[in-house]
């Protein structure tokens, strides 16, 4: 029991540390929030202008919600992916990696603590932005199934946690190239998962890749819940792949990370700062 408590306390220590850092870097947080808002509003204006651009009669509310769901969700998922996949890079930048890795805690608590912060922070930030854009564009969310959307978001977070943990091994093993490769993986996910379009418009080979991306099912499920107001029964074909991916990716991610950690301990790469 005391072991579980110690691990829980350590995991909370990471959450607390990240919030303390958030407080210290509040100016940057404000910058990123404003930047994110500008990006999201720009996407919203794209929806507003589409009717005059094409001359066709469109359901503008539907179109804006469709695009904004993609933009906001991508903001959340990419933030989550970045925070988890850069668990190691962050410590390298600060030079604290060796102290964290020699602390008497399991890697699961370490990753869980960092992920928990990323999820809580991401959800608060996304909800704040959603509220602001709804007010800005006078969007009608009367039909939306907000509870269903939160279920999709919660389950998707776990799939992304596993995926991010697997990618986190790259900066661990290669301080020079790991972060760049993680960025490429993120870019590919953005392209194939249908952030601003249906994946059916992609070439066949890209559609095959998109079937393996948790973001594809998250975006699809969120749109159905928020734009169409679909109930949980109609979200099952999105939720089940996400649950399956979480079940596979979380243990696989931890295994890959542990393997990477042992590799670094064998070759002396933990020492290097970047």
């Amino acid at each position: 029991m005391s072991r579980i408590l110690t691990e829980a306390m350590a995991a909370y220590g990471f959450v607390e540390r990240q919030f303390m850092l958030l407080k210290r870097y509040w100016m940057w947080e404000l910058v990123w929030l404003l930047y994110g808002m500008s990006m999201t509003l720009s996407i919203g204006f794209l929806g507003v202008g589409m009717q005059s651009l094409t001359g066709a009669r469109l359901d503008t509310n539907h179109l804006i919600l469709y695009l904004l769901t993609g933009s906001l969700l991508w903001g959340y998922l990419s933030g989550l992916f970045w925070d988890i996949s850069h668990i190691v890079s962050w410590e390298r930048w600060e030079g604290t990696i060796e102290y964290t890795f020699m602390a008497p805690i399991s890697r699961i608590s370490h990753i869980f603590g960092m992920s928990l912060f990323a999820i809580v922070y991401g959800i608060v930030r996304t909800l704040l932005m959603l509220g602001l854009v709804v007010l800005f564009f006078h969007l009608d969310l009367g039909k939306a199934n907000l509870g269903g959307a939160l279920v999709v978001l919660g389950i998707a977070s776990f799939s992304f946690l596993g995926f991010g943990t697997m990618v986190a091994v790259l900066p661990l093993m290669s301080p020079e190239k790991g972060s760049q490769i993680a960025g490429i993986v993120e870019g590919i996910l953005l392209m194939v998962s249908g952030v601003y379009y249906e994946t059916s418009v992609l070439p066949r080979w890209m559609q095959i890749i998109s079937a393996f991306s948790p973001a594809t099912y998250t975006l699809r499920g969120m749109r159905r819940a928020l734009v169409e107001g679909a109930g949980l029964g109609h979200l099952l074909d999105c939720l089940l792949p996400l649950v399956a991916m979480g079940i596979i990716l979380i243990p696989l991610g931890l295994k890959v990370f542990q393997w990477g950690e042992m590799y670094c301990k064998r070759t002396g790469k933990l020492k290097r700062s970047g």
Binding site: L21, Y99, T267
Partner: protein, 295 residues
């Protein structure tokens, strides 16, 4: 069942194990891409096979050392002699290629968590979250070692006070503290978890003479009051002589001499003249302590 295991562990730590630290025939080799020779030869466009040429360097070579509980053992050596690599292997941050290391009977490779609970380390580079204050960094460290914030804060204030840290700066961001102050916080971090084995890797580098003395006094106190075992690497001969029960001299990854300070001096005595420890070091290694060689 858990209670039985706890009792067994307690017995192991409290003296059933003969040595606090056992380092037995430990070796570590690093493989490095041979960039320097390529550049020296102007061979930037070699074939990929040649480009992958790598050199193997034995950083720690068949080192053995047995440190009894409550002892302070020193490791002296020029830069690049393998001191920090040895400390990293004991800290579970590096895996030995050969041999084994145990801390109170726990193997650093097979039982890293058990080892990590008993050790802590202070290294020459005071690495912290620079935007966070000294206290925030220490509270975070305390959480990782199972300490509640109130307990961490109380202990941190006590240790920092003993080290002569200016208490009015305790909530200042680390990046605003001087190098010496940062090093004192690093030392406080190492002592915070009350480790039974403390690894001090050049802990007083960068400190002024008064601060250096404060740290050395605190190390002695830690041994006297808590029976902590300490492994100290240093470039400061007076520090090694003043603190260490025994001193190992490491050169090119090998232990070339191991004795008390007086024993080492006696080993190199010539014509009834007793050399200083620094002279012993130069005599044995053929190098000065500050010779330029990266580790």
């Amino acid at each position: 069942m858990n209670r039985l295991r706890d009792l067994a562990n307690y017995a192991r730590v409290m003296g059933m194990s003969e040595h606090a630290l056992e380092i037995v025939n430990v070796s570590k080799t690093f493989v490095k891409r041979d960039e320097d020779s390529r550049e020296a030869l102007g061979l930037r466009r070699l074939s990929s096979a040649l480009r992958r040429r790598r050199t193997r360097t034995a950083v720690v070579d068949n080192v053995s050392m047995y440190v009894p509980r409550g002892a302070i053992y020193g490791v002296l050596g020029p830069n690049g002699s393998g001191k920090s690599t040895l400390v990293r292997m004991i800290s579970t941050l590096l895996l030995p290629d050969a041999g084994h290391i145990t801390v109170f009977g726990y193997d650093v490779v097979r039982e890293p968590l058990a080892v990590q609970r008993m050790i802590n380390r202070v290294s020459v580079d005071a690495a912290f979250f620079k935007k966070l204050s000294a206290m925030e960094n220490l509270i975070y460290t305390g959480r990782l070692y199972g300490l509640r914030p109130a307990a961490s804060e109380e202990r941190a204030r006590y240790i920092l006070g003993r080290l002569g840290f200016d208490k009015s700066r305790i909530n200042s961001p680390m990046e605003e503290l001087s190098r010496g102050m940062q090093q004192k916080v690093a030392i406080a971090r190492g002592f915070l978890s009350s480790p039974v084995l403390l690894l001090l890797d050049e802990p007083t580098t960068g400190l002024d003479p008064k601060s250096k003395r404060d740290v050395q006094e605190f190390i002695k106190q830690l041994r006297e009051e808590h029976n902590a075992t300490i492994l100290l690497t240093t470039h400061d001969m007076a520090e090694a002589e003043g603190l260490c029960d025994r001193i190992a001299i490491l050169d090119k990854g090998r232990v070339i001499a191991f004795d008390t300070g007086d024993g080492l001096k006696a080993m190199c005595r010539k014509d009834d003249v007793t050399p200083t420890l620094e002279e012993v070091f130069i005599e044995l290694t053929g190098r000065r302590l500050d010779s330029e060689e990266g580790e």
